[in-house]
Structure formats: C-alpha cells, structure tokens
C-alpha cells in the first residue's frame, strides 16, 4: 500500500499555506499508510549555509546543542520535536563525520539549502501534529504515509529518503532487485542506513545525479535498472518529478490548476485543495517522466 503526496505551488500567494495543504493530504492518506509518515518541505531560502535535518531520537536536546557547538563554531540549531535543523557552512561529509563519531544515536535525514525533512513512526495524524506541519510555509513539498512491507517500522525505514543535496524521494511500491543493486552501489561508495528498498532507489538516483545526469535522464535510466512496482516522487530544489513503472499497478493522480500542481495516490487526498473540482485531473501514464519546476 503506502500513500504518497506532493504539491508544487505556482502561485506565491499560497506559500504560507503550504504546510496546512500538505498536512491535510497526509492525514487523508492515513488509510493507505498508518505505520509511519514523513515529509520534505522546500522554501526559497538561498543562504550560504546548509540546513541539516537530524533526528536526535531520545538524546537530550540541550546537551546535544551544547556538545555539537563544540565541534561546529557556526552552528545555528532549531528544534522541532525529536528533529533538529542545523544550519552551518560545513559540507555534508564533515557534518556526517561529526555525527558518526560523536552522536551515534542520531541520524541525518536530509540536507540542502532549502529542504527540511521530518519523518517518524506513528500515524500520519500524529506525525503531522508532532512536527507542527500546519505552520510551515514554502514553495513545494512531498510526503509519504507508510504501510511497511519490505523492512521494519522505524524512523530509518520511513520516507522521504534524502538522495543528495536538496533531493529526496518517496515511493509507493516495492523493488525486487534492491539487494543486488545495493551491493553494486556500495562498491561505488554509496552508504545505506537501512535494509529498505526505497533507500536503494534513492542511492541510485543520487549516484546518477552526481554523475552529471539530469533528473529526467536519471529516471529514464531507472526504468531500465529498477525492477519492481513503483510510483516515485522525486523532489529537487526547484520542483518535483513523478514516475510510474510500466505495469502501473501503483496508483497516482495529478491535479493541475493555475495555482498549483498536486499529486497523490488517491484523489481523496486532494479533495480539500482550493479549486480542485475545476482542476485538470489526470493519471500519469506508465513509464513516462513528468516534472514541474525542475
């Protein structure tokens, strides 16, 4: 099962309500994924600093903040439930190393200049409330509600998966060749934190993008290399892309108006969006890459 949702705003007037629009979409998809939920929000911040979304689990926030500041002198830290957003000029490898060496119980869930990712075990309703999604603004966002099939119900097993700077992926479906692919990607130096199939797809995408392929080429190659059932939404700094496998058993419906483009597993996730009844509503065709803004 699993539910996936995404919304890309064309009309800037809606930016302040991005969080509340997405929250309702996620809650509506609770029936498809009650185990865990997560979301990635993009805003048009374009500072010099990177933003790191870190899940600190049970660590004491004040201690974490204090200790981390010892390793990062420009650290600017903001707390949101059991996640923190760390702003620093330091590059990803350096931050990863600090976390790995000194904060074993934390995990980096995503990083970039504009992306913030939050994900946790629990029903979408609980997760949305926990992270106060309603208060977020931004330009576009994607989200996921999970019904676990391939691996355990954990934060690491939750989506979205970060695939690189300002990139992330959500997935409805299951991949059958993820073990082989994981072995191949590990040899190329890509790290994996879980046994999850989607994380492999995320690694595949980041590896391709790092090799100077664009998102459309990457996803088209994915049609050849990723075996299984899937509807993917890949978020980038400027927008998102959608791809369904060629059998297209996993659902997706897109609604487009002059103000926004929304995608969801089922229409009911979008029924609350403004003007949706007059939107252009269609199903993405199998094996075709659709993208907006990227």
């Amino acid at each position: 099962m699993c539910g996936i949702v995404g919304i890309y705003l064309k009309n800037k007037k809606l930016n302040n309500s991005l969080g509340s629009l997405l929250a309702e979409m996620l809650i509506n998809m609770g029936s498809r994924g009650p185990d865990s939920a997560g979301f990635a929000i993009y805003n048009d911040e374009k500072g010099e600093k990177f933003k790191y979304s870190i899940c600190i689990n049970n660590l004491d926030y004040e201690n974490f903040k204090k200790e981390l500041s010892e390793y990062l002198d420009d650290a600017d830290i903001r707390k949101n439930s059991d996640h923190v957003i760390l702003k620093t000029k330091k590059k990803a490898n350096d931050v990863l190393k600090i976390l790995k060496d000194h904060f074993k119980n934390t995990s980096l869930v995503g990083y970039g200049k504009s992306i913030e990712i939050f994900k946790q075990v629990g029903s979408p309703n609980e997760v949305v409330k926990k992270f106060n999604l309603n208060n977020y603004s931004g330009t576009h966002a994607i989200g996921h509600t999970r019904m676990a099939t391939e691996s355990a119900i954990t934060t690491d097993g939750s989506h979205p998966y970060s695939t690189g700077e300002d990139e992330c992926l959500v997935h409805n479906g299951s991949l059958s060749n993820h073990n082989n692919l994981r072995r191949k990607l590990k040899k190329k130096g890509i790290n994996f934190d879980s046994e999850n199939d989607t994380e492999v797809a995320a690694g595949y995408i980041s590896n391709h993008l790092a090799n100077k392929k664009n998102l459309k080429e990457t996803l088209n190659d994915g049609l050849r290399d990723l075996d299984g059932f899937y509807t993917f939404i890949t978020g980038t700094r400027n927008g998102f892309a959608v791809l369904r496998d060629e059998i297209a058993c996993k659902p997706a419906v897109i609604a487009e108006t002059n103000d926004y483009v929304a995608i969801a597993s089922e229409f009911q996730a979008m029924a609350h969006l403004p003007g949706v009844n007059d939107a252009k509503i269609f199903e993405p065709e199998p094996g075709v890459v659709y993208s907006w803004g990227s």
């Binding site: 297209a248 229409f267 065709e285």
Partner: protein, 225 residues
Amino acid sequence: MELDLKKLNLRNVNDKLQNLDRKKNERDFTIINPEGNHAICAGLNNEMNVTIKGHVGYYCAGMNQKANITIEGNVGTGVAENMMSGKVHVKGNASQSAGATAHGGLLIIDGDASSRCGISMKGVDIVVKGSVGHMSGFMSQSGNLIVCGDAGEALGDSLYETNIYIRGKVKSLGADCIEKKMDKKHLNKLKKFLKDAEIKNFKAESFKRYGSARKLYNFKIDNSY
C-alpha cells in the same frame, strides 16, 4: 433527494440506496461532496437514478444492478466492477480496471480510461469516448468494448469472446488478439451502441474490429518458442 457526503456517513448513504423504501415513490437521488470517497453507490439493486456531483474514489457503482448512475467527475480504480445490469455514465476520466469482471449493463466513459479497462469483462458493454490504456480487455470473455480514441499496448491480451471496436490507433495487440472483419451485423450492433452513448460525430464504419484468434483455447503440446 439530495444526499450530502459532508454531512452524512458514506455507509448510511449506501445503506439507504441499497435498501430503498419501496412504499415511497422516491427514485431520484443526487449525491454532493463525494470528495474522492471509495465505494460510493456500491451494491445498488433497484431501478433508480443517482447523480454524483464531483470526483469519486475506488469501486464506484460496483456490483450495480438495475440502477442508472451518473458521475459528474472523474472516477478511481474499478468503476462499475462486477456490474450485473443497469447503466453507469462517467462524465470525466476513469482510472484503471474500469468495468472489471462486469457481467452486464452499460458503462459509458466520456473521457479517457487508463490501463486494464474491461479486464476480464463477462458480458458488459463499455463505451469509451476517449482512449484506453495498456492491457485493456485483458482476458475478457464476453460483451463489447468500444473505444473512440486510441488503445495502449497489448490490447485484448488472452481474450476469449469479447468484441473490441477501436476507432483510433492500437499501440500493439496482445497474445491471441487479431483484427477481424467487420460484417454488417457488427456494424449494426456498433451503430446501436454509438446511438445509446449519444455519439454522433463518429461513424460506425470508421472503427476496426478486434477479437480472439481462439488459438489459446486448448493447450497445444507443440507450442514452443
């Protein structure tokens, strides 16, 4: 009578329509605010007219008998699945598996239907004014599938005895599906369907007929590749 799904519980609405009070002469219903809910109007079994104003979710009008249901919007997976009789008219687009396994009745889709339209149909007549996706008519056994637009890959794969009429392009035919001669009796039948679906701008002569080559009916020991 107007039924508002924002105020009423879906189960209560379906229950009311499934158990019509025969003493009351109420046969016309309008459902508003469907908001993509699943299984709206599933299991109706009496003559009545229902109009749904808006987009619906999965299995709308499933197992329909006798009722005349119009959806003024798009429908999700499996509209009119296993319909026995009656009529279902979708004014928008349909998702996959429209009319799946349906035994009878008429399903009209004004827009496009996506993959596996008419999968395993067992006697229903389906008219799609737009195009259909891949594997439409898969393993279909009886009835008629009429498509005014194009058909996707593997049309009519492994079909038994359904008549498929396509006006536009067919991307590819599935196993054991072949183009067949359009006889006068087929033309007359097709004309009736076009009339029933109020299609005036296309002539029956502009369609091509597809059906089973009947080579998969029996296991052939020398089938080898």
